[in-house]
Amino acid sequence: MVGPLYDFVANPFGAVRLSFEQAVAASPAVDPVAAFAGKDWGALDLFRDFLLEKGGLSQVPILDASSRQWIQPNSLVRFRGMVQDMLGKELYIGAFQDGSNWRTNKYSDGALFPMPAGCQSAYESNLWERLLLHCVPVPGHNSWAMHSTPPQVFRNVMDNSMYEHGEKRQRDEEIDENNEHGGSPSSKKQKEGEHPCQLNHSSQGSLVQGGFSEPRNGASLSCVIKMYDTPECDLKLNDVFEFIAIYTFDPEVVAYKEDADDLMDDLLDDPLMHLPPSKVPRLHCLICRKLAIQDFVSSPLSVELPSMIKGIRGSLLSHLTQVLGNDGLAGECLLLHLLSRLRARVDAVSVGKLSLNLTGFNGETASIFGNRITSAIQSLLPFSQYIPLTVDYLNTATLQPKKNNQTGRLIPGVLQLAQGTHLTIDESHLQPGNLDSNGVHNARLLKKLIEQLSVEYDFEFYTSEMTADVQLLILSDGKSNIMPADLVLPFCPNAVNSIANPSPEELQSWRWYLDTLRSLPYSSQPDLHQDELVAAMREDRSLGCQQLNRWLTMARLISVSFGEEELSLEHWQMFKEIERLRKERIK
């Protein structure tokens, strides 16, 4: 069989153009402008066929700060990012007639062929529209999750040998990827060592300056994504997507406004003005897919035997315990915390969250265990952030995402996070000091986040609440009052032991375990717990609704950690034991 007439990867426009011409030719009686507005004429099928059926996905390079250097404009790329801002719609001339030929402008910034002069007004009445998104790399994206591919696709990459074009560099990339997955721990460690550090550094640094919006020196690559034929309701702020898109980038600085009409342009203009095509690449999305955590985690080879889950639980628990200096109780609590997830929101009550406050971190322990905990979490969860809380930080950082109505852009704050991000807040360095109004505001935001798992976005004239499903771990000396967590546990490390480096297989199974069990459904069996709760309430009159809520959450999480959907008496007893130990420790 002869290959396609065009190279999908290097010249995607060829496919777009050809399919459009075919479609026009197939139905000569119809006005293409009206007929193909807002729908696909078959180009996507071509791409889908090539990418998914024929395994072409493996040839498509992933766009990131490093690969950006060599990826040619107008080629096909993959990009993973979080929807940071939605920039509204853009109208354009979708199709026009050039002599006898019909041309389309879909999937391109400007016309590829010169449009006949004066044709603008002719098509004014029948414009097509596309959505604009501003996407940034997911904040706190840990390096191990950077290049992993969804399992089913990934396997394709392995056995399919479709490297026809001999794209050497790309192959190298692929090998790198493999290394990352199966490589030796030492290389892994080294990588981790540089990446998270860089991430934290860049985000911290920019916090002070007020946001990481503009990509400087290519460290973080943000893109403007143009979405076609996608209803806007399918897209949400802070969703993580993978886009397969046509990459266009115009490094030449274009004088955008040259007329005397500046004043008018200034206000009529869109936010794109501040994201000039010379700095921010444009991606014309062909296919997009919403990513969940499991897309970053590859599953272990055999699946879901109860005994196996128990085994993984055991090994993960012992790892966490080790990390926490042989504090078994803290290990248990940390495991439950990592498994927690916002299940539902009934009015003001958020069900299912379990924020954890480990107390007793002072000078020495803080520096040793703080780092250990954060790096352990970094290696387990795809997205994690670490915030060292100081008075200075509270006063200077912009935690709240804020809409700048001058530029029409949403300026990201630290708390604009992807769903499922883990946030570690280290309060152990907090010294007494004065908070200014910004500091108080930030403290309030944090408190609201931990209590209701929602962040207020500032839209200048009003605020709008966005849910933020994040896991919050607080490390502090005494009980934190800025961040009142659900579960407070004094941390008692026995020994500063060395941690055995987990093998990649172990890491992989742990990641899979955490992700799979987090999304385990609940099944009901309420009678038992009711009696238990009533009994407990009779024993201790001070038990409030909040406490009981936490009890049930923890008990549930214990059974979840064993991979069980129902809460059995055994696990309830286990919870009570943990709670008893915890109470003892607090005294």
Partner: protein, 830 residues
């Protein structure tokens, strides 16, 4: 090239008789193409008496073969002239120049004379619903035009699109579909009409259409709306400075001094003539702009953003640019919520001459025709409490603005008719807080509120209901408060611990720039006509609490500070919650002892609820069940048969605004009887003690409560049942708070003085006993006795329990009578 250049049908720019603004309605130059400015004036001043004369210029201005009709045709979406499709589509509409009848604007179904006549008919004959259709008086719009001419102030006539629709649905449809064309004709008609009524009237009158039958959400504006009339609601987020725009430019030849004819605006720009217009000169590139002979108009670009309620979850607000012209400039400020009626338009992104790639992008904007402020942030703030007679006219204009609204009202009324609405409302209030049904009922009453009465002397009787919740920690008081704060219009939530007197009421500051003293309002003033929720009322400083006295009864805040003497309205309902003084409620003590609030303040609360955490297996079980359900069941299944928050808020605000119940005979009777009954209860036959079970404040509370209850049913009359329920509510609240624990009867003295009648009696007895004891046992000037000895003695003598403290109190009284002297622990008779 001619046809493709004219994107605006209003700008037939190549001919000198063309006219200039990209927007028809806002340009004060007439849209008909007079040959010159002077020509226009001439024509205007010579109107013919013939009533049909106005049609003449129109007909001549848009003949099918003239270049103007061509300009009309180009932007029409029906297709390009080259597309055979549109021709077939437009079929019979397209008029052959040879065919004299009928004349359509190319690509539309608009026949100029027809539309012209329809508009004229509408203006002349339309009569509002309040006008007598047979009267000889002029119609609504003729009167409006008259008024404008007489006052010489206006430049525009507001035209209610609903009126147009009622009179001529076809005209309405055409106007929305082809606003550019229809508005030109509309303007022509108006202009001629004015010219005939008053030939000397110089100003140009434009139609401003508003109140379209349906409004589009900004999110749903799409390419098919381009060049249609749309109405969008949103919030202004940004205004540009005012931009002067040249309307007509005059050029002068630098060589011969020849002045060109005024050059009109073409698609936002003026084309500078390249050569001198005089035949003798014809110099190239010699023309220069003469600024002071040009005429300018104001323009402003405004960014409109979606209001928060229209943004779907997880989305960011959309914005759209609005262009304002002439009078509309500066009519809205950033932060205003407005409804804009205008024409949605697209403009191609201009490409510089050096740029080779052709841009295919378009920018969109709305040419504003009419701006209406719709201040409906946080539900209807305006006037929920008082009747305002002169608002009725406003109401028709601002509220019944859409079918949508009426639909909603209908639905609310349906709801109100349901027999169990009271219970449903109760259930819907904070559904995740269980039990406490009577407290919720009280809170509902607070939300609905009674009617404020203004007496002739200027004093007023508040309609707001104040509620105090006292309870054990962990009984979800704060959650109730939060919920109420969310629900009430203009709710303010403060915590007593952090509030000072000035923060609650008002304070005076110095403006750092000017040095002037400025009055800043605090929480109570800010929540005027809302609910001010004060958490941790007991932790508030004495000073701050005392400020509340005035607020809670007089509903004003008076300030006399730094040269400013002011009295601000603070018509707010206060919802406070407090913890008992020992962290748990001590049932053996009275409310006063438990909360440590001055009785004067307590008496200002209509309802005082004690929310006690009583050990009760039943409640515990329900609580447990609730929490378990929260965790194990689908959250949707838990909430059953309750009104959702938006409905509830809409229901409440509608009731507050539109329902003003009055007492019926029956209700008044019942109130009087009930009150007398309550007072009587204090008189136990044969008992010497007088217990006050009700005070005048209670009857006011009762009236407010029963009014609120009637409001809940959308009833204009308070009936007997409401009064019964009000009594029940009051009694429930009082039973909890004003019950004298010693006797088990309700005693208002507890609230008003802090001491119950039985307590007073007890103290009295003790005092007598002590006096007797002292008189009996102790000698005048004899040796002193220790307190404890006295106490033992008293206990021996009397049957009742005596505490050391009580004895001290009694001795203190005796001391003031001059019978004894007390030094430390020793008592001495003097």
């Amino acid at each position: 090239m001619a046809s493709s250049d004219y994107s605006s049908p209003y700008g037939p720019p190549s001919s000198p008789d063309g006219h200039s603004s990209p927007i028809p309605n806002t340009d004060s130059s007439p849209p008909i193409p007079p040959s010159t400015n002077g020509g226009r004036r001439r024509r205007r001043r010579t109107p013919t008496p013939n009533p049909n004369s106005y049609q003449t210029p129109t007909r001549s201005s848009i003949p099918p073969t003239s270049p103007l009709s061509n300009t009309f045709s180009t932007p029409r979406r029906r297709g390009t002239p080259s597309t055979p499709l549109s021709a077939s589509d437009a079929g019979d509409e397209f008029s052959d120049p040879a065919d004299p009848t009928p004349v359509f604007v190319w690509g539309t179904n608009i026949s100029v004379p027809d539309v012209n006549a329809a508009i004229l008919r509408f203006l002349r004959n339309f009569r509002g619903p309040h006008d007598d259709p047979d009267s000889l008086e002029q119609g609504k719009y003729m009167r409006a035009i008259d008024r404008i001419i007489k006052s010489e102030a206006g430049e525009s006539v507001d035209v209610d699109a609903h009126d147009v629709f009622d009179y001529d649905p076809d005209l309405y449809a055409k106007m929305v579909r082809y606003p550019l064309e229809v508005l030109v004709i509309f303007e022509l008609v108006l202009m001629d009409m004015v010219a005939r009524l008053d030939p000397s009237y110089e100003k140009h009158i434009q139609p401003r259409i508003f109140n379209l039958k349906s409004s589009v959400s900004m999110r749903n504006l799409n390419p098919s709306d381009i060049e249609k009339m749309v109405s969008v609601k949103g919030m202004i987020i940004r205004c540009s400075s005012i931009i002067p725009v040249v309307k007509e430019a005059v050029f002068r030849c630098l060589i011969c001094g020849y002045y060109s004819d005024p050059v009109l605006l073409d698609r936002g720009r003026i084309n500078e003539p390249t050569r001198c217009g005089r035949q003798e000169c014809l110099a190239l590139n010699s023309m220069t702009l003469v600024h002071n002979r040009c005429s300018f108009t104001d323009k402003q670009i405004v960014k409109l953003q979606e209001t928060p309620d229209e943004i779907p979850e997880g989305g960011t607000p959309h914005t759209v640019s609005i262009i304002m012209h002439g009078k509309l400039v500066d009519s809205g400020k950033p932060g205003d919520r407005v409804e804009i009626t205008g024409v949605y338009r697209a403009m191609s992104v201009r490409v510089g001459p050096t740029q080779r790639t052709v841009k295919s992008l378009f920018k969109t904007y709305i040419d504003c025709l009419h701006l209406k402020k719709t201040d409906k942030s946080r539900l209807h703030i305006e006037d929920p409490m008082e009747r305002d007679d002169n608002s009725s006219t406003k109401r028709t204009a601002s509220e019944d603005d859409s079918l949508d609204y009426e639909d909603k009202v209908e639905k609310l009324k349906e709801l109100a008719k349901q027999p169990d609405i009271y219970d449903r409302l109760t259930r819907s209030l904070a559904p995740n807080i269980w039990e406490l049904d009577d407290v919720k009922r009280g809170l509902l009453c607070q939300l609905f509120g009674g009617s404020a009465v203004k007496l002739q002397l200027g004093t007023s009787c508040r309609g707001d209901i104040n509620i105090l919740l006292v309870g054990d920690p962990g009984t979800s008081k704060s959650q109730l408060l939060q919920y109420m704060h969310k629900l009430s219009p203009r709710g303010i939530y403060t915590s007593g611990r952090g509030s000072s007197a000035v923060g609650l009421t008002a304070y005076v500051t110095k403006d750092p720039e000017t040095g002037e003293t400025v009055l800043e309002s605090g929480a109570l003033v800010l929540s005027d006509r809302g609910v001010c929720c004060i958490d941790e009322f007991d932790k508030m400083s004495e000073n701050a609490r005392s400020m509340l006295h005035e607020v809670m009864e007089q509903q004003t805040v008076s300030i006399a500070k730094a040269g400013i003497i002011a009295s601000l309205n603070a018509r707010t309902s206060v919802l406070a919650c407090a913890n008992p003084s020992g962290s748990r409620y001590n049932p053996r003590l009275s409310v006063i002892d438990n909360i440590h609030l001055p009785p004067t303040l307590l008496s200002r609360f209509d309802l005082i609820y004690l929310i006690l955490d009583k050990p009760d297996e039943h409640t515990d079980r329900r609580l447990a069940k609730h929490i378990v359900a929260l965790h194990f069941e689908n959250p949707e299944s838990i909430v059953h048969d309750v009104l959702d928050l938006p409905t509830l808020t809409a229901y409440i605000s509608y009731a507050r605004k539109h329902v003003h119940p009055q007492l019926s005979e029956e209700a008044a009777e019942k109130l009087v009887c009930g009150y007398v009954e309550m007072r009587k209860r204090g008189n136990f036959p044969g008992s010497g003690k007088k217990v006050i079970t009700a005070t005048a404040r209670q009857i006011e509370s009762l009236i407010r409560l029963s009014e609120a209850l009637a409001r809940m049913r959308f009833s204009e009359w308070v009936n007997g049942k409401d009064v019964d329920e009000a009594f029940r509510l009051l009694e429930v609240a009082m039973q909890q708070s004003a019950t004298d624990h010693a006797t088990g009867t309700i005693d208002m003295d507890l609230i008003t003085t802090g001491i119950s009648a039985s307590e007073r009696m007890r103290r009295e007895n003790l005092l007598t006993a002590t006096r007797n004891l002292v008189m009996d046992k102790m000698q005048l000037g004899g040796p002193s006795t220790r307190l404890t000895e006295l106490l033992e003695e008293l206990r021996k003598q009397n049957s009742f329990e005596v505490h050391l403290n009580d004895l001290r109190n009694a001795l203190a009284t005796l001391m003031s009578e001059g019978i004894v002297s007390l030094h430390g622990d020793s008592v001495k008779r003097i």
